[in-house]
Symmetry: C2
Subunit: 701 residues, 2 copies
């Protein structure tokens, strides 16, 4: 059900229920914030003890106001909230922000009370934010709504900020001038008993005042819906998210905080990558990125020019760009010639362009323009240190002028001039919208996110391929396994399923007798591997059920008999499903791993370095299924596993297309058969010639 959130953020009348005359109380702060913000609609206070609070007319209840109220801000004790909601509903107020705490987050009765208000709201078509939140803000002058008890008024801007930690909303408004961004709208999500982060995403999707979306999340309410919505919206505007509870300890703290359970963090990474959501780990990075997006267009390419009046910082910027994989533009001779004409002879004309300390503001500007005008340059990083002659303001003016002249090329700056300079800049140069950073690394971080987003928008796609497979045969295998009452399919069943889904398997056959085995082996060609396929044994190698590198028919006979002996001894004959004779994949130790696990409603695909390195190196990454073409590509490029795909020490490169298709076919398998809980395709071996083979299979339903 789509709920009307427009009225919530754009009310013409607001009642603060639980308003208070007591200084420092939440009910008083709410009234103060709303009046300080100069709300353009009609504002009412509700409290039976007063007739006026801070100049706002006060009524005993919302029912006694006598005119329509769009939004109720509720700050009465938890036990009274349901009643207030009922009153709101009775006078047609369908939108409420419940500030009150004492609900799910305190457990016990609070959980029930929260369920009750949610049920009431749902049954009566009400829209509610909270409970246990700080409130909402809309800085659009048409509304100037501040229904939030954070102590300060935010700076107006283009950011939509939603947070599961109310305190953080307050903290961020407090330090907003430091962050050099401004707020368009803010929603403190609280316990999200009804309206949640996904609703807010959708609300901001087509709101032109919200140019980018920032979120602090501790949980994701519905991964499938989130993926759908975020993928769509990230095409239109940047979504930057911090999701906390990454560490075990952090997750524990989260559970006791807002009562929400922290999801598994590794899979959240995959989810965000798939959606084009930029995940930041730290607030510092979040705000540096936000500043960059709020003041820069996306570049056409990724080539950076660094302009500096001091050598050391130029080298540091080049180092840092390299750390973030941002290539420096190779300046053409023509560009260098132009620079030479305007710069002192000691200037360095290579990128970083060092115009030296004695250069004038005019020389700085001329160089910046030459670089912005150069075809080989996509972005400009302007560094200025005050050494002799303080030109910071002049340089920012010049850069602003150039920004308007060359609007397609992002410009970022670091000015090491005075400690307060860039905090004062909005006053000194109100029209300036060039990002300023305290540190080089913060500027480069911001630029790297511009490049990342540009690449995402260029490369992302929603292509989920439908390969031709034998679905009905797989349905039969699974239903047979069900009839046998087994959850982990036998090796043979798993291999058969992989085969029907077109995965690159080594040649293999099912031998019921030694004669079969010899025939299969001679068809395949030696060396071969024998693998028992059992309905009861889950780890076949633990009981010696796998024999590798069988080179001759004699060896095959010897090992066949030996294997049967072992099975006999272990009393496994009855549960035997057959013995697999499989081509031995030789030579290389390039081992990858692919696998799928179902978490909640979503199948998560894992890919990375395999063999003994799965656990030791943790070079694996995740994406939610179904895998798009882009997901498969970015999954493969997401770990160092990509480094062993190319030609390596006499081993040939593998065909990445085959690998990509393998992952997408696995994804199709779990999409077709959602009853599959786990798949291991491990190892995926790459042989010396680069051929990829899925050497073992395990499927759990």
């Amino acid at each position: 059900m789509e709920r009307d959130l427009y009225t919530l953020m754009h009310p013409q009348s607001v009642a603060i229920i639980g308003a208070s005359a007591k200084p420092g109380s939440v009910g008083n702060e709410l009234i103060l914030r709303a009046t300080e913000a100069r709300f353009t609609g009609r504002l009412f206070a509700v409290n039976p003890k007063n007739t006026e609070i801070e100049g706002v007319p006060c009524y005993p209840s919302i029912t006694s106001i006598g005119e329509h109220v769009d939004v109720a801000i509720i700050a009465v004790p938890a036990s009274g909230v349901l009643n207030v909601l009922k009153e709101c509903n009775s006078v047609g107020t369908k939108h409420a922000v419940i500030i009150s705490s004492g609900f799910k987050e305190v457990g016990g009765e609070g959980v029930e009370m929260e369920q009750a208000i949610r049920d009431f709201a749902d049954e009566n078509g009400m829209v509610i934010v909270g409970p246990n939140c700080l409130g909402i803000i809309n800085t659009d002058e048409k509304y100037s709504l501040n229904a939030c008890f954070a102590p300060l008024q935010p700076i107006k801007g283009t950011v939509g900020f939603a947070t599961q930690s109310g305190a953080l909303a307050s903290g961020i408004i407090n330090i907003l001038p430091n962050l050099k961004i401004g707020i368009a709208q803010m929603v403190s999500l609280g316990n999200q008993c009804q309206i949640n982060s996904i609703d807010v995403l959708k609300m901001w999707e087509n709101d032109e005042h919200v140019e980018q979306i920032l979120m602090y999340l501790e949980s994701i309410p519905d991964e499938v819906e989130f993926r759908k919505v975020a993928t769509r919206i990230s095409q239109k505007k940047p979504i930057l998210i911090i999701k906390s509870g990454r560490s075990a300890r952090g997750a524990k703290a989260s559970a006791s905080h807002t009562g929400s359970l922290a999801g598994d963090d590794t899979t959240a990474n995959g989810l965000f990558a798939s959606c084009g959501v930029i995940r930041e780990l730290y607030l510092r990075d979040l705000f540096n990125t936000a500043q960059t997006f709020s003041k820069c267009v996306l570049p056409k390419g990724d080539k950076l020019a660094i302009l500096t009046n001091a050598g050391g910082p130029g080298i540091l910027a080049a180092d840092t760009a390299n750390d973030y994989s941002i290539p420096l533009a190779e300046l053409t001779d023509a560009t260098k010639e132009k620079l030479r004409a305007v710069l002192p002879p000691q200037a360095s004309l290579n990128n970083p362009v060092d115009i030296i300390a004695s250069a004038s503001a005019e020389q700085y500007k001329a160089s910046a323009e030459i670089l912005l005008n150069a075809k080989e340059v996509d972005m400009l990083f302007a560094i200025y240190l005050y050494i002799t002659g303080k030109n910071d303001l002049k340089i920012m003016e010049a850069l602003q002028e150039l920004k308007e002249k060359y609007p397609k090329k992002p410009i970022v700056t670091v000015l090491m001039t005075t400690p307060y300079f860039d905090l004062d800049l909005p006053k000194l140069l109100p029209n300036c919208n060039i990002p300023t950073f305290d540190y080089i690394v913060d500027a480069i971080h911001g630029l790297s996110r511009l490049v990342e987003r540009k690449r995402y928008l260029e490369n992302a796609n929603n292509n989920v391929y439908n390969f031709e497979v034998n679905k009905s045969r797989v349905a039969d295998i699974i239903s047979n396994a069900r009839i046998d009452g087994i959850n982990q399919l036998t090796t043979l069943q798993s291999l058969e399923i992989f085969k029907e889904y077109g995965l690159p398997l080594p040649k293999f056959g099912n031998a019921q007798s030694l004669k079969d085995a010899k025939e299969i082996a001679s068809n395949i060609g030696y060396p071969v591997v024998l693998k028992m396929s059992s309905k009861t044994v889950t780890h076949k190698s633990d009981i010696g059920g796998v024999i590798t590198n069988i080179k001759t028919e004699d060896e095959l006979e010897f090992w066949w008999n030996r294997l049967l002996e072992r099975l006999n001894k272990a009393g496994l004959n009855d549960s035997l499903d057959g013995i697999v004779v499989m081509q031995q994949i030789s030579g290389s130790n390039r081992e990858l791993v692919a696998g799928i696990v179902k978490k909640g409603a979503t199948h998560q695909m894992m890919f990375g370095l395999g063999g003994i390195f799965v656990e030791a190196l943790h070079e694996v990454t995740f994406r939610p299924c179904p895998l798009t073409d882009y997901d498969a590509e970015s999954l493969i490029n997401g770990t160092k596993a990509k480094n062993i795909l190319g030609a390596l020490r006499g081993n040939q490169a593998t065909d990445v297309k085959v690998l990509k298709e393998t992952l997408m076919r696995l994804s199709q398998l779990v999409t077709d058969f959602p009853e599959i809980l786990e798949i291991d395709a491990n190892p995926l071996m790459i042989d010396e010639k680069g051929k990829l083979s899925v050497v073992d299979a395990r499927i759990i339903i």
Copy 2:
């Protein structure tokens, strides 16, 4: 030669030669800075055109001053510098800071002029800083020396800052209030024609005013000397270094893996780690760490308590501590009981301790004291957000009081209150010396460096072991190789050398005939490997000179003949040195790599993940030789290679002591034979039982 740098930084009289009355000129800025700083000694200007500049008496030359001058600050054009130096020397002024540029950095004649001033200084026992530098500063009130043309006066403090980028000195002084550190002494190193970063390190070694040393370096003048000096000094005070030029490609094409992976910068990492120097990559991190060291003692342990009045930031802090491997203290029941007694019931008593937004400053203080008093807590991270009731100042006062009461436990803070709050703090609370950070991650970064330094001081040692080896036999092998005119020793020679140095080799022998080979193989036991040992072939596997997994005597005969055929065909019989019959190391694919390459005067040891992963995963790290016991330990723990040393998927753990000794024995080898240029011990195989073997050897002299 130890030079007298004390006088340089503690002069009683200073002459600024090239002083100028022209506003904005370097010569004028120098005079202004010196007078603004209220230099306590006698200050003279030198310029034939003036008799007084900015109130400072001015003389036509230093020789006409008529009294002794301790230090000359020289800012005349480059071509006049040598003459000025001569004049200084003639009147007994033995210390000079050469501000003038136009020397080595411009090439050509500049190089010669720089050599000339250096020679003159050396011949006449003069001490010179620069040329091409910004100057020097000593904020000690006994001297109040500012002989630097950076535009502002620095804040006084405990940091010694030396920089190869003069502009950076200026930039940093400009923004010093942001950095929340103060300067004791500053040296702009310039071209370091004589006094270099190592001299400055030594100068600050026993200077009690300099409590920590910060450096921005672009090069290291002498790695051997640097290592000696920095190792000694880092025992006394922290040394934090940014070395830039990381992205420049230093590695040359090389026959060995070690050689090709040993970039200049990678080895600098090893050098710093060995010395206990904290290397920061970014200025941001450098100053956050510096602030932490300047205001915190080292903790006794690494257990962190997080105190917050808001849940979200507490979770973020826990996540970030986890990212930096800082464990959170497990609070005891007793501690929790004490917290419960002072906190509201909704407070969370687990670490992070969330006292909730409504808690008072008194409750904040009481909780902080309980945590500081708890035995299980080594460090406190105090987070405060202003939500209702602004208590930031009260809380900082309380924390400062507690800091004095519990002086052994570091306290760091993040206050999200007002943008200017912590910049204003020095005025509001002048006695406060608790670090304040804008962001959680910056605070955690600082704490992690405290813990790192604590661990270094506890674990570092200078134990270079001297194992019993057969040095004279190795000397013979090398001298024979020299006589044969070969630079890359044969496989046999290399293996013999490894054997004499006690490395863990598989069993092997040198076969001159098939009969030999059979005898050796039967002694060793099958399977075996055959390897040609040639005086001319550097990559024996390229020409099929290595045959593995020979299982029987028949196979041995077959392959022996085949190998001889190959050699014959390739015309390699003459240069054959023998054929190595070696035990085949079976089973595991746990492959490590060790190697040594000589760069400059230093042998650099590399260790990490081997096999095909050397280049693909880059999980290798370096340390300079000779390797101390600590170096070997930290080398092994320096990459993910450590993750494959333990028991892994049915493979037994390896004996880390054997591995450590292997690295130290290799180090001893190059210490004994500095003529060795490169060694590859690759792969180092760990078999299923955990036994370590050096499977192949290559030595280049």
